[in-house]
């Protein structure tokens, strides 16, 4: 009996890590944008959906290898992010000094404008593609079973794990070793200082949207192929979970968001041991409430670097 339980438990942990990594990829987009503008981008969940549909169209149309699908989806995601910035964020940002860049008015206005863009995008996708789940060609699914002793994995688990680690590692390299990354961190840290050293703040903000959105879009297609479901409303739940991970992680800490996303994914997955799966969304909100009560700055928020 204990053996079976342990195997089942380990299985749930593995599934939870995959889920958590997906939340992490989505949460990074939130966190990067929050770090640089102090605003929540409510359209980020739709970028995830756009990524999934872009991938689906590619697979149905040309059936390229998975790596090409992911890279092209990331490019589409980046373009969608840039478009989103133009549409919902740039018009409201009249000045680029610190006060107006991170002002309350800017925060509230973009909160609504990004929400508006997200609703329009979702409904347009529902209109074009239909509200139902789409059928994904069998060959493209990431559901090949791999048996490891008592554990059953799919190649989707491994691919999500590998892809997420590469993307998270790439992001860290970019933020700490490249000029674009240093500029993003500098603008997050001190806008006025960034302008004085000669950083083009608008360009840096656009780059932030492109990077965050490309990760979100990649998560969308990976999950679509892993779960076998792609539909216009698929971005909502991971969007909320990623948002929770960002808040738990302290709003502007990438490592914090990643750790909390993993915590969330694993808890949700393991909780199905004790709860019926219909209750599993409760976990995220429960953790959020507990974090906010006991660690109002998030688990990793205190005194950490933004982004």
């Amino acid at each position: 009996m204990p053996d079976i339980f342990d195997a089942y438990f380990a299985q749930q942990v593995i599934n939870g890590i995959s889920l958590g990594l997906v939340y992490a990829l989505v949460a990074i987009g939130f966190t990067l944008i929050f770090g640089i503008l102090n605003v929540v981008n409510f359209a980020h969940g739709e970028i995830y959906t756009v990524g999934a549909f872009a991938g689906l169209l590619l697979i149905v149309g040309a059936a390229p290898p998975l790596l090409a699908v992911v890279l092209l989806v990331m490019a589409v995601g980046a373009a969608a992010g840039v478009g989103l910035e133009r549409l919902a964020f740039r018009p409201i940002r009249r000045f680029s000094d610190e006060a107006s860049l991170k002002s309350r008015a800017m925060r509230e206005a973009t909160l609504l404008s990004s929400l508006a863009v997200s609703i329009v995008a979702r409904e347009v996708m529902a209109h074009v593609f239909g509200g139902e789940m789409r059928i994904i060609p069998q060959a493209a699914l990431l559901q090949d079973v791999i048996t490891l002793g008592p554990l059953t994995l799919t190649n989707g688990n491994l691919i999500i794990f590998g892809a997420s680690v590469v993307m998270l590692g790439g992001l860290q390299f970019m933020l700490y070793r490249t000029r674009v990354g240093l500029s993003i961190r500098a603008v997050s840290n001190n806008v006025l200082g960034a302008r004085h050293v000669g950083i083009d703040t608008n360009r840096t903000i656009v780059a932030t949207f492109a990077i965050g959105s490309s990760l979100g879009a990649a998560a969308g297609i990976l999950v679509g192929l892993y779960d076998g479901n792609i539909y216009p409303y698929m971005g909502f739940a991971p969007g909320i979970k990623a948002f929770v991970a960002m808040v738990m992680g302290g709003l502007s800490s990438i490592p914090g968001a990643v750790i909390c996303a993993l915590l969330l994914g694993v808890s949700e997955s393991v909780a199905t041991d004790f709860l019926s799966s219909g209750w599993k969304d409760l976990i995220a909100y429960g953790l959020l409430v507990v974090t906010l009560i006991f660690f109002p700055q998030g688990l990793f928020g205190h005194g950490r670097e933004r982004v």
Binding site: L182, N189, N190, R195, H196, V197, G198, D200
Partner: protein
């Protein structure tokens, strides 16, 4: 011809006109000081030169080119870098990252050489390279701020209140470095409330009042000017004492 030439510059913020026709000339390889009390528009002047604020009238010519209303990232590329008021360093990033960011407008290949030069000028930063900039003392932060500006290889270095909040000993150290930076070929425009310290290193100086130049002349003459002494050099106290 002067390296930097402001002619009748006006800046309006909201409904308030902060600069009301200011004219200043900074000759090549000089140290020029702009003095004045709180709220006379000194920092506005610096931000207008650096392209943080737009100008509503007048002209700013640098190296023969009109740079008024050029965005700030364009200004730095012209060869004009500023150590701004309040230092505006990147507190949660390391000293090394701060300096590297200072050179974000120069080709990547020149960074390591420039970094070495900056550290030679400010040896205290060398031991602190991997420390968070926010953990430095006020004087060290000011040095980092100037070092960061120098990373952009500026022809003209703008210093906005470099002495603010620093102990007299540190102020002297900073002004000695300012002289050294000029001797190594840069031109410097410095804005200060600490008129005494600024007049000691400056060649020429301007006193700004109400968004306009009230007095201008050689720094040595200004240090003897009764109006300047009364207003900025603690003249009344001297007379009594």
């Amino acid at each position: 011809m002067a390296l930097l030439e402001l002619t009748d510059v006006h800046v309006t913020m909201g409904v308030q006109e902060i600069l009301r026709g200011i004219s200043i000339a900074v000759p090549e390889r000089a140290i020029v000081a702009v003095l004045g009390g709180n709220g006379v528009g000194k920092t506005t002047l610096m931000r207008a030169i650096s392209g943080i604020y737009g100008i509503t009238a007048g002209s700013i010519r640098f190296d023969g080119q009109e740079i008024g209303n050029t965005p700030s990232h364009g200004i730095v590329r012209h060869g004009l870098a500023q150590a701004p008021e309040g230092r505006q360093i990147f507190g949660t990033m390391t000293v090394r990252e701060n300096l590297i960011l200072g050179g974000i407008t120069v080709p990547q290949g020149e960074i390591s050489g420039l970094l070495e030069k900056s550290l030679e000028l400010f040896p205290v930063l060398k031991e602190r390279l991997n420390q968070k900039a926010g953990s430095l003392s006020g004087g060290e932060q000011q040095m980092l701020c100037i070092g960061r500006a120098l990373m952009a290889k500026p022809k003209l270095l703008l210093l906005d209140e470099p002495s603010l909040g620093l102990a007299p000993k540190v102020v002297k150290q900073i002004f000695d470095l300012v002289k050294r930076i000029r001797d190594e070929g840069a031109t410097i425009l410095i804005v200060e409330q600490n008129a005494k310290a600024a007049l000691k290193v400056a060649d020429t100086a301007y006193v700004v009042e109400g968004g306009k130049v009230a007095v201008e002349g050689k720094a040595a003459d200004l240090a003897k000017d009764q109006r300047v002494i009364d207003a900025y050099l603690g003249g009344a106290a001297h007379a009594k004492g």
